[in-house]
C-alpha cells in the first residue's frame, strides 16, 4: 500500500451530468448521449471504489430543477460516500435545499461570477467545507506568451474578463472550501488535463483543487496529481462508457505511487 507522509489519499471523482433526472455526457457540450439512471450509476461507482460522486445538473429549465432534488435524495439514501451537486445554484436557499436533500457539498459557478459575495454568505451560513466553487477556464494567451487563462461561462462560449488563477485565489479568500477546475480547451477531447492550468491554480490557493476536463487515459489521472498538483481528479466519459473502471483507475494510480483509498473488498490490492 502506498501512503504519503500525510496519509491523505488523492480522490477519484466520477462526474454525472444530469438532465431532467437522467445521466448524460456531452462531448464538448454537444452530441449529448444518455448514459443511464443516476441512482444505478452512482451505486455502481460506489461499489467500484469511487471516493466521491459529483452531479452536475444541466437541466435548462428551472421548472425541472426539483427533479435534481429528488435525484439527490434517492442517491443519498443508498450511497454512503460524499456527494457534490452543482448546476443552477444561485442563492443560499438553493444551497440549503441541496444540503437538506443529502448533498455534502454544493458547487457554485456562474452565480459566484455575478455576485462574489454569495460565496462569503454561503460559507458563513453553511461552512466552507460544503462549498465548491467551479471554474471553467480557457487559455487566452498566445503560444509565445506566458500562459494566461480566463474564466468562461455558458459552456465556454462567454468570456468574463477574469483571470482564472486570480479568480480562484479570490474565491478561496471569500470562503470556498474547494475549487473544481475545468479546462474548457480540454473538456471532451480525451487529451488529458491542462496541467499548466491545474498547477497554476493548485499553487495559488490554500484549499483543495479538483482537476477536470480532458481525461482519456489512466496516465492522465496520474499526471493531474503528480504534475498538476491536484488533490482530486474528476472524470466522466472514460468511466460512463466503460473505457476504464474506477477500480482500474485506482490500481493504476497506486502503481504510480499516488496514495489512494483501496477497496474494502480487497479486490484492488495492487
Amino acid at each position: 500500500m502506498s501512503v504519503s507522509p500525510s496519509g491523505l489519499c488523492r480522490r477519484i471523482i466520477p462526474c454525472l451530468d444530469v438532465d431532467r433526472g437522467r445521466v448524460v455526457k456531452g462531448v464538448k457540450f454537444v452530441d449529448i448521449r444518455d448514459a443511464g439512471d443516476p441512482v444505478e450509476v452512482a451505486r455502481r461507482y460506489d461499489a467500484a471504489g469511487a471516493d466521491e460522486i459529483t452531479f452536475l445538473d444541466i437541466t435548462a429549465s428551472s421548472d425541472d430543477r426539483d427533479t435534481m432534488v429528488h435525484v439527490v435524495e434517492q442517491v443519498a439514501s443508498e450511497v454512503f460516500i460524499p456527494l457534490t451537486v452543482g448546476g443552477g445554484i444561485r442563492k443560499p436557499a438553493d444551497v440549503r435545499r441541496m444540503l437538506n436533500a443529502g448533498a455534502d457539498k454544493v458547487g457554485i459557478n456562474t452565480a459566484a461570477i455575478h455576485k462574489p459575495e454569495l460565496v462569503r454568505e454561503c460559507a458563513e451560513r453553511f461552512g466552507s467545507q460544503c462549498l465548491v466553487v467551479a471554474i471553467d477556464a480557457k487559455r487566452v494567451s498566445a503560444d509565445n506568451e506566458p500562459p494566461r487563462w480566463e474564466v468562461f461561462t455558458h459552456g465556454g462560449r462567454r468570456g468574463t474578463g477574469l483571470d482564472a488563477v486570480q479568480w480562484a485565489a479570490r474565491m478561496a479568500e471569500l470562503g470556498a472550501g474547494e475549487i473544481l477546475l475545468t479546462s474548457m480547451d480540454r473538456d471532451g477531447t480525451r487529451e488529458g488535463f491542462d496541467l499548466a492550468l491545474t498547477r497554476a491554480v493548485a499553487d495559488a490557493v490554500p484549499i483543495p483543487v479538483i482537476a477536470s476536463g480532458g481525461v482519456g487515459t489512466l496516465d492522465h489521472l496520474v499526471d493531474g496529481v503528480l504534475q498538476g498538483g491536484a488533490d482530486a481528479v474528476l472524470a466522466a466519459s472514460i468511466f460512463h462508457f466503460g473505457t476504464f473502471t474506477v477500480a482500474e483507475a485506482k490500481r493504476h494510480m497506486a502503481s504510480r505511487g499516488v496514495p489512494i483509498r483501496q477497496l474494502a473488498t480487497g479486490k484492488a490490492e495492487a
Binding site: 501512503v3 504519503s4 507522509p5 500525510s6 496519509g7 491523505l8 489519499c9 488523492r10 480522490r11 460506489d46 471516493d51 435524495e73 443519498a76 439514501s77 443508498e78 454512503f80 460516500i81 460524499p82 444540503l99 437538506n100 436533500a101 443529502g102 448533498a103 455534502d104 453553511f126 461552512g127 466552507s128 467545507q129 460544503c130 472550501g177 474547494e178 490557493v205 490554500p206 484549499i207 483543495p208 483543487v209 488533490d231 482530486a232 483509498r261 483501496q262 474494502a264 473488498t265
Partner: protein
C-alpha cells in the same frame, strides 16, 4: 424496538446520518429531532455536526440541547461525529476561542497552528478533506469487523490534539498526529464521517446501533 435519536440543531447534513443508520439497522427507529424530550426517551443518541463551533454551541444552548447531551453522555450510548466530537471537549481555538461541553479534557486547534507548533511544512491543503487511514489505537466494540488502518472520510480544519491513550481509540496523521476517535464508558466519537465512509463507516454505525455502552468486547 430501539430508538436512535439524531440531534438536529441546524448544523449540517443530518439526513445522511439518519439514512445510513436506517440502512445498517432496519429494526431501529431513527428520528431526527431537536426536542429534548425525544432525545431523553431514545435508547441511543447520535450527535453530528458541521460548521463552526461558536454557532454550534449557541444553537445547542438556544434549543436547550446542551444539557440533554450531557445527560445522554452520563446514561446511554452516545456517538459524536465531526463537530459533534470536537464539541465534547473543553475548549476549541476556533472563532477566537470557544468553551465547549467539557466532557473530555483536551484542546481543539487549527491545523496550521498544529503544523507551525510542530515546526513542519503543511503536508497538503487545509481543510484536511478526503480519505485517510485510522489506526485503531485501542480495541473497542465499534471497531468490530473493521480492519485496522481502514480509510475513513474526513473534512475538517480543526483537530483534536492527541488525547491520553485511555481516551484515544483511533489515531490519524495529517502532518501532525491527532485523535480521530474517542471512547470513554458509554461515549464514542469520531472526527471522520462514518456515514460517508462507505463500507467501513457503515460497519461502524452498525456496531454502534447494537452497542450496549460497555467498552469491553
Amino acid at each position: 424496538m430501539s430508538t436512535i435519536a439524531v440531534i438536529d440543531y441546524g448544523m449540517g447534513n443530518l439526513r445522511s446520518v439518519a439514512k445510513a443508520l436506517e440502512h445498517v439497522d432496519d429494526r431501529a427507529r431513527v428520528i431526527i429531532t431537536h426536542e429534548p424530550e425525544q432525545v431523553r426517551r431514545a435508547d441511543r443518541v447520535v450527535f453530528p455536526g458541521q460548521g463552526a463551533i461558536r454557532d454550534c454551541m449557541a444553537e445547542l444552548k438556544r434549543l436547550e440541547l446542551d444539557a440533554v447531551i450531557l445527560e445522554a453522555a452520563a446514561s446511554k450510548p452516545l456517538l459524536g461525529i465531526c463537530m459533534g466530537m470536537q464539541a465534547l471537549l473543553e475548549h476549541s481555538e476556533e472563532n477566537a476561542g470557544v468553551d465547549a461541553l467539557g466532557l473530555v479534557a483536551g484542546r481543539v486547534r487549527h491545523f496550521r497552528d498544529g503544523f507551525s507548533a510542530a515546526g513542519i511544512a503543511a503536508p497538503g491543503k487545509v481543510p484536511h478533506m478526503g480519505w485517510n487511514t485510522v489506526q485503531q489505537a485501542e480495541a473497542h466494540p465499534i471497531w468490530r469487523d473493521i480492519p485496522d488502518n481502514s480509510h475513513f472520510y474526513f473534512v475538517h480544519s480543526y483537530f483534536v490534539e492527541l488525547l491520553p491513550d485511555e481516551l484515544t481509540i483511533g489515531r490519524c496523521q495529517y502532518g501532525v498526529p491527532f485523535t480521530a476517535a474517542i471512547a470513554r464508558e458509554n461515549i464514542v466519537a469520531t472526527q471522520f464521517h462514518p456515514e460517508k465512509s462507505q463500507h467501513a463507516g457503515l460497519t461502524l454505525l452498525a456496531n454502534f446501533a447494537r452497542w450496549d455502552g460497555e467498552s469491553g468486547g
